[in-house]
Symmetry: C3
Subunit: 473 residues, 3 copies
């Protein structure tokens, strides 16, 4: 490795360049760098922790599940098959040499310059694996071997890493029909707090091909008659209780838009009958999703679950990729998303509830200052989730704080979500968020907009306390 370039993490990375602000950021960060991690929303696999089986190799652990990686490589002409990702289509034979796939990634690691993936990977390589050379074609084998060896060790089993990462709580996300067996198992034999989140899109979104079957199944699981509106709601309430029994404090809703509705009972029942039969139109499906956000808010008022809304992704934009490789391959794309009119029906009914907490997310940064901060700075029921997905990045986080804080303040925000299935990157992602928050606070102090003692008071709130409170953890 004598020819290799050193991999070093700048201890002042992501802090302001200017020296006084940098110094303040550095001192703020020192106070919060080692705080436990609250991960209140994400997509890790609970079976990792229930089985505690070792991860096997760098390629399947890091590349295959990471749609940030697969999408960037794909954009430069590297098809999934060349990374070893398998398709049902026999004409798309996958690379079977996992090491070759890793080399291909290493050869193209320069594509990630300037992206958060690069920051996260370098952080994982340096701090989790102790690697001290940059990933390149020349160091690919060194990486592959070293990572493989470490993953085979006890210290790199999921539960050991959970403790090492300082995770105080980790929320996963499961569909409404999930049996939550892994969470049950976990609760019995381990101290780690891995909780579920109730994500009922599978039984709410009538655009899904499996919607009717899912609602049938919902009836079977709960013993309710989901042919009718009343039984359908009762079944959902039972599932919410089941999820709460497995640690859930929150629901999550991934809708194409933020539309809500509050229809008269007879209209809802007619709408439900149409979509329940599988013969509803696209407009019916949209209206039903809208009505269900309001129903979920009503249930949240009753059962205390926090409600997350993640709207605005157009899923599976690339039909060829979807047909051959399925979901979550990097072909989901943001679209412009409106909130002020969309949320009004729900807010008219529940916006003034002080015992309801709806956390709003967006992929459309134009609404930060125009819609989300004004909404959250007024309605007791609303709070703002952190910058999400494509915007979960240094520049994206700064845009979030700069656009939101002046109208919503800090106290209508909820700290950081890593929202990831990339377990190894969780500390890296929280580290980026903590550094950027210190950057922003230091800017405010340096420009006389915040007293230094107030910045020191806020830093741990942004890093941990707001998330604990907002998600009732």
């Amino acid at each position: 490795m004598t020819d290799a370039v050193a991999l070093t993490l700048d201890p002042d990375r992501l802090f302001p360049a200017e020296s006084r602000a940098r110094d303040i950021a550095r001192r703020l960060y020192a106070e919060i760098a080692d705080l436990p991690i609250i991960s209140p929303h994400g997509h890790t696999d609970p079976s990792w922790f229930s089985s505690n089986a070792a991860f096997t190799d760098a390629t399947t652990t890091f590349l295959w599940p990471d749609h940030y990686v697969t999408r960037m490589l794909y954009s430069q002409g590297i098809a999934p098959a060349r990374l070893g990702i398998r398709s049902d289509n026999p004409e798309l034979p996958a690379e079977t040499d996992l090491r070759a796939a890793w080399r291909l990634f290493a050869d193209h690691y320069h594509l990630f310059r300037g992206t958060p993936s690069r920051i996260w990977y370098d952080h994982v390589f340096a701090t989790v694996f102790g690697i001290d050379v940059r990933l390149t074609g020349a160091t690919a084998d060194h990486y592959y071997d070293l990572i493989g060896d470490k993953l085979a060790s006890e210290a790199f089993r999921p539960r050991a890493l959970f403790d090492r990462f300082g995770l105080e709580v980790l929320a996963t996300t499961e569909g409404a029909l999930d049996g939550l067996e892994h969470h049950s198992a976990l609760q019995k034999d381990w101290h780690g707090r891995v909780i579920t989140t109730f994500r009922p899109d599978d039984v709410i979104d009538a655009d899904r091909e499996d919607f009717v079957a899912n609602v049938d199944r919902l009836g079977e699981i709960t013993g309710e008659d989901t042919q009718g509106w009343r039984g359908y709601l009762a079944a959902l309430e039972k599932r919410r209780a089941f999820f709460r029994a497995h640690g859930a404090t929150a629901s999550d809703h991934g809708h194409p838009t933020a539309a809500t509705a509050d229809l008269p009972r007879h209209e809802i029942e007619a709408l439900f009958a149409r979509i329940r039969s599988g013969r509803g139109s696209a407009a019916d499906a949209e209206l039903f999703r809208a009505q269900m956000l309001t129903e979920m808010a009503r249930m949240s008022v009753e059962d205390g679950m926090v409600m997350q809304i993640h709207p605005g992704a157009m899923r599976n934009h690339n039909p060829w990729l979807f047909a051959h490789y399925g979901r979550d391959r990097g072909a989901d794309l943001p679209v412009a998303t409106e909130y002020v009119r969309a949320l009004k029906p729900l807010l008219d009914r529940f916006g003034n509830a002080t015992d309801l907490s709806i956390i709003l997310f967006t992929l459309d940064e134009t609404v930060y200052a125009r819609e989300l901060a004004p909404l959250a700075g007024h309605y007791p029921a609303l709070k703002l989730g952190p910058s999400w997905w494509f915007h979960d990045s240094p520049e994206g986080m700064l845009r979030f704080r700069r656009n939101v804080t002046e109208t919503a303040g800090f106290y209508n925000t909820v700290g950081f979500n890593d929202d990831t299935r990339a377990f190894f990157s969780i500390p890296a992602r929280h580290d980026v968020a903590r550094r950027i928050d210190c950057h922003f606070l230091a800017e405010l102090v340096t420009t006389g907009r915040l007293a230094e003692d107030e910045a020191f008071d806020l830093a741990p709130r942004l890093a941990r306390d707001f998330a604990k409170a907002a998600y009732k953890l």
Copy 2:
């Protein structure tokens, strides 16, 4: 107060952090800090100056009228009643202890960290009242007593403060039916220049429940037959003249959208007949507002009044709050607003008029670089108002300058508006604007985009001269 935290205003606040730029900003600011204040658009109450009665206490003077404050407190679960604000609803009894309301505000002053309200209040407390400790629960009584005492003194009467604040001119805003008695009185017995602005939304916006009655009243006041289109226009022209006689140099139009229209005469008359009868549709009301912007532009060409357009607020989004506490409680929300197509009918007719000045505002920052700067950088009739409302803030002002200047330059902008009903905060708001403009100019100088002598030439124009010229003051 020995335990209290000091309240200090950083003399370099809002300047760039980097030392060379900060130095330039500091020197620019020294040239303009004490210039007289031009306040060409705002919502102070002219009766304050005609009666010159003392303000009574901190709570009613600062909290009740400030929707920035009431909205933020409300978002964190503090209902208006707890601040002492009264509702018609007897089930919402208001706190009657004004001091207790002030304490509640003080206990939650941390909510305003990072918001412009915090900057404005600290500026008022420190410079107007000479307070040297931070507002907290512990200092709430000290504040309440001290402010109450000072407000009772002669030096804190409205006219004395007007002079102390260095106000060269202060524009208020009145509806078309207003008798302007306070302005009349003022003109007779005081040197202070408090002028009115003609805001005819009450007789133009047919969505208002009082529209028909208002147009009836318009006829009575003017002696014109406002049953017909011709008489309606004549009545408006008379009111414009009446307002001009009370100092008005500008009109103001607060429409939901920026839509304009230029219909054939027979269509206008049919439209007017529908909305005049009170039986027009929502689309009729929108089209009528659109037509009336063009009519107002035509009258401005004739009588020389500057025309301000403030579109894009969805008013009274929260029906519960509106029902119990009325307008202006912080529940107005911005919506996306289009200008390029919307203004075309008006511009087709009057956009090339060099003797017309239409000042455009927005709550939708996405149009700064995309629409407003290109429009104002082309049409002689258009100029750009400063960042407005939620965007009247340090970050908001910087976004305005950075997005607008490269296409519209400085000379198609009109200086600062405080646009406030919070009289005490006017110097604070202008101070923020002046500091941010110096910040921006210093950035240009430091990065070689502007010569230093040019920055010194521009600073007083941005602080005072552009406003005087644009508003014909």
Copy 3:
């Protein structure tokens, strides 16, 4: 000139203010400042180079063709006639004294403070003409005389300047019916690489008044029967080949929207029949443009031409100006532009093609992070053009990099386009782009997001290599 203010270009202009970042930017810039210029998209006149005739005077060379200048002056009440620009309307007599027009510009040079025009002009004046005093009313004659004298010299002939400017390749843009005589002539007697670009809007956009005549002419030129769909396509393919023979490596498409379509054959033929007859509706014209983008992509897959899409300008917004002075006078205005849904029909068919390169531009910066970076960071066929037109400016370029890089990386971008008809300003424009890219890279290095060796590797790619590769030059 002893009273005049010095004209000096800050050698560190557009670099970050903070000293460490500035130092890195300075060192990066030193490596790329003198690289040859690749100008892969622009609007210079090929006859300049075929005739090599001298430019005559400052006014006609700099003012008349520069819509950035004419629009800003117009916005401040200076009509084209006062600059000497002629209209068909005899009631608009033009100033005939070109020197007087120049003085008028000089008297209003302060309007351009803070705009990129100011940066470009000062760069041209200082570096191309060696002028050392600022342009003002007082120095207008000095400028006019000096520029006139230099333009008359051999060293300021177009071909000499082409070499002096270090142009490695310069692409012009011609309509589909252009005979390309100048390019033919150039290829025969000069080493300078001035190539054409195929811009077929004139035979694709049925909203043009000359569309039917143009398609007739297309048939005549190519010997194809352009009455029918098959012949029309064949004619376009022939023209593409003709353009390629004159150096073209790219097509360009300036559509009102980014809409694409992929209709069944029989629907296309019916649509073509309607628009070919001149009796198509506006919706037909829009759908036909949409379909033609997909057809052009198909031809690009076949013939290897790069495809540029420049959507979102509403042309000729000012009917009075258009009637009297024609196109390109500064009255084109951006409108909000959607890409994710708009491009889907084309991408469904060709988005996964690794041998297709579609370069996307926008006048709507809200899509940088929301739509364009996610699209280009996924689809092999897509790349992102640089910040365009109103956004071709220091702040605009920084917004582009900051909004795009984290999702699309650097390698899905294509370097700089000057996109100008202002030949003299080409080095100035590339210099701004190079400085801003060094600024951005230095920021990444200073904040620990990029290693310094990687910044040095990227700088020449951004300055030259990416453009050469993306445009196949």
